[in-house]
């Protein structure tokens, strides 16, 4: 499809065109920039919900049930589900669709995304993929991260509401005190509520929140058993409460902060690439050798490179 034809179809919300655009975005294809420039004013209209948590916590199942609930409420949904790329082969098995039967049967657009070496729980291009998906005219975008470790907190820079899914049996209460993933949840979910230890985990999370500073929005803790569809209505209500909270206060402000963060990232990437093209790989290698031989220190090396 030629870019012009693609843009035309995107504006009609054509599914194949959107799917193709997402491919171009994730391939960082050269043709994608003018397309995104063209459709930019039409994007940014969906409410973005991020779902993160350790592998096997039940993220995909919860996404599927949220999708089901959203349909009941006459909302249009798009789903991006990120899974890890193998660091060895560069390949990936993307299996989140497997758990999304309700969403699949309702014809919801689901896209499986490989992280392609990007760290932080998302792919480098996830932000723009959300914008691409918005050409379908969805009210809600659900973004599921890779099975996240403690430091995979990038979702918070993308989502309006971030849900952290935890499960019992992964560690003691000190784990709950550590910095990282638990801090980013606007909502905390204890899934597998039918398992032993789920009450205790919910209590520990409550204690952890109690020890911190009192914020305007205190994350509610919701216990769910996704395989039995328990607790999902409550989760849905809390999502809406959080949305209302943002609408009253700061949704534009928070979104602005996120766009600023993106802009800074892109700018540093852009300047870096430009500088690298200007000075060339060889110069970097020369400098590295000098630093290695202690002919120069790394700080002076940077100053010299910037001056060039």
């Amino acid at each position: 499809m030629k870019p012009k034809e693609l843009i035309g179809k995107l504006k009609q919300g054509d599914v194949r065109a959107v799917a193709r655009l997402l491919t171009l975005i994730e391939n960082e294809d050269k043709s994608v920039e003018p397309i995104l420039k063209n459709i930019w004013p039409l994007t940014g209209k969906s409410y973005i919900i991020g779902i993160t948590g350790p592998p096997g916590a039940g993220k995909s199942t919860i996404v599927d049930l949220l999708a089901k609930t959203a349909i009941k409420n006459n909302l249009k949904i798009g789903i991006l589900a990120v899974d890890p790329t193998s660091p060895f082969s560069g390949g990936a098995v993307l299996g989140d669709r497997l758990r999304m039967n309700n969403a699949q049967k309702s014809g919801i657009f689901i896209r499986s995304v490989a992280s392609r070496g990007h760290l932080g729980g998302l792919a480098a291009t996830t932000r723009f993929m959300i914008n691409g998906l918005e050409m379908l005219g969805n009210d809600l975008t659900l973004v599921e991260t890779v099975g996240a470790g403690q430091g995979d907190v990038e979702i918070v820079k993308v989502a309006d509401t971030t849900i952290v899914v935890e499960v019992p049996g992964l560690g003691d209460e000190v784990q709950a005190q550590k910095a990282g993933i638990l801090e980013i949840g606007d909502l905390l979910v204890v899934n597998k509520g039918d398992r032993p230890g789920s009450d205790r985990l919910a209590n520990e999370l409550k204690m952890m929140l109690g020890l911190g500073e009192h914020k305007e929005w205190m994350p509610p803790i919701i216990t769910t058993t996704a395989t039995k569809e328990l607790g999902i209505e409550e989760l849905w209500d809390e999502i809406n409460n959080h949305k209302k909270h943002l609408e009253n206060k700061e949704i534009d402000e928070t979104r602005l902060g996120k766009i600023k963060y993106d802009l800074e990232n892109q700018l540093s990437q852009h300047l870096f690439t430009r500088k690298m093209i200007q000075i060339g790989e060889n110069e970097i290698e020369n400098m590295a050798k000098k630093i290695f031989n202690r002919d120069i220190d790394p700080f002076t090396a940077i100053e010299e490179i910037i001056k060039q």
Partner: protein, 131 residues
């Protein structure tokens, strides 16, 4: 930087639950650097084609051991046509009688890999076709 990847949807239509073959293929394609979308058991042709379009894959891989291919192959081909998605190619594996293979190839199955096929052959075939 060129970051294009070959994307393949592996589906297991029909009612039999023997998905070991599909999983072996998914794993082999992953290890050769492809992105494999695994959709699991008992998928209808409608589900498969819809998923393939959303995922913008180069190939659909169908694993069928129950004999249901006689119904599923023509249906998947027809649905791809209806959705203007004939550029998505279909490969198949499982239990497909040898004497039927020319017939299926004629109506639009790109390649059929029977029992005993080396995964390397499948990977090479896909790589060649996408280039």
């Amino acid at each position: 930087m060129e970051k294009a990847k070959i994307r393949v949807l592996i589906a297991k239509p029909g009612l039999d639950g023997h998905d070991r073959g599909a999983k072996v293929i998914a794993r082999a394609l992953r290890d050769s650097g492809m992105e494999v979308i695994y959709t699991g058991l008992r998928q209808s042709p409608e589900d498969i084609v819809e998923a393939a379009i959303q995922e913008d894959v180069h190939f659909i891989g169908l694993s069928i051991l129950s004999g249901a291919h006689s119904h599923i192959f023509p249906k998947v081909i027809e649905l791809l046509k209806e959705n203007n998605a004939e550029d998505i190619k279909i490969i198949a594996g499982g239990i497909i009688p040898d004497q039927e293979i020319p017939k299926w190839k004629k109506i639009g199955i790109d390649a059929i890999f029977g029992p005993g096929t080396s995964t390397i052959d499948i990977i090479e075939y896909i790589n060649r076709s996408v280039k």
